[in-house]
Symmetry: C2
């Protein structure tokens, strides 16, 4: 589209690379930058570069942090014998937001996905096996997807061999959801996992 | 949320300022930057700053451009006696994408909106009145909203006094839309503006 100035088109292309951002949304974002004042644009550009400069991966859990080890791994109040295994660093923040988990985390950096060529060697598994000791508890909190379940099964087997207590997050009706709109797979799991009152 | 590193939170906050981007989407965007390599992040930051440096407003039409006057205003093949009036620079690209308009544009930079304190003096109207001459044709292409209609009515009156032929974009069923899902106001307009076969 030659009628869009090159620098604007270039910014639209950059935004369109983001997940879930289509061509029209990218254009809307680019025009917002265009309309915002120079200081605000500079703040955004600065924040982008600062994230790349300051953020590192925790050498213990693989989560993102500005200090190594991260604030959670180095917190003496957290239960170091309870490890929650998640796919991505962002998943840690989901747990922390809920403010109900008192253990520590371990980030896999993905899930097993043979179709995408991702095997056990591509995940942060060696370091996990180095962390766990007999009698510890591990919660497998990979996503409730085919790949997440496969990865959980694989890890569960490895971890049980090491004498670790392994669990997986419960499946069932989401709180606040409506029974009417629940899909078959979730309803089946909710029935299977019914709890006695 | 103290568990998110400050630099990441700062980037999330920056993204959340964009229109239509909520807190969760902003977090997803920030994590995408975090996961992308340093070069890609630098490209994005550079594109943001470049837009603010290179883009200026065309002194004739008020559209965005890297050269003044813009490519459309300075194109000898465009009909300079046919002016399409739009609210925002982005609207020009919508017309150009459709590739059906052969005249030139004029950007108002907004619409009349007394509730927001935007009156005629806040819009790019003086320069419009300086551009039009008797016998020229002007198409009012403000949005089909209350403010857009009010602005079109206001401008139409001013322009007719100058002996300009004034028209407004047609209202009716959107092409590809379904009659079943058409709202009452659109259907009324479609009936009023019916065309003989």
């Amino acid at each position: 589209m030659s009628f869009i100035p090159a620098s604007v088109q270039s910014l639209v292309d950059q935004f369109a690379r983001f997940p879930g951002i289509g061509k029209k949304t990218a254009q809307r974002l680019a025009f917002f930058v265009l309309k915002s004042n120079r200081e605000d644009a500079a703040l955004l550009a600065h924040a982008i570069m600062e994230v790349k400069t300051k953020i590192l991966f925790c050498s213990v859990c693989g989560g993102i942090t500005e200090t190594d080890p991260c604030g959670i791994c180095s917190d003496p109040k957290r239960n170091q014998n309870l490890i929650c295994i998640v796919e991505e660093p962002a998943d840690i923040f989901t747990f922390e937001r809920a403010n109900t988990f008192t253990g520590v985390y371990h980030v896999l950096g993905g899930v097993l996905s043979p179709l995408d060529g991702i095997g056990p060697d591509d995940l942060n598994i060696d370091r996990l096996l180095g962390r766990v000791k007999e009698g510890m508890e591990v919660i497998l909190a990979t996503n409730p997807s085919v790949e997440g379940d496969t990865t959980a099964l694989y890890l569960g087997k490895l971890l049980k061999e090491k004498g670790v207590i392994v669990s997986r997050l419960a499946r069932g009706l989401p709180v606040g959801g409506a029974l009417e709109y629940t899909d078959d797979a979730t309803l089946t799991r909710a029935l299977e996992g019914r709890t006695t009152l």
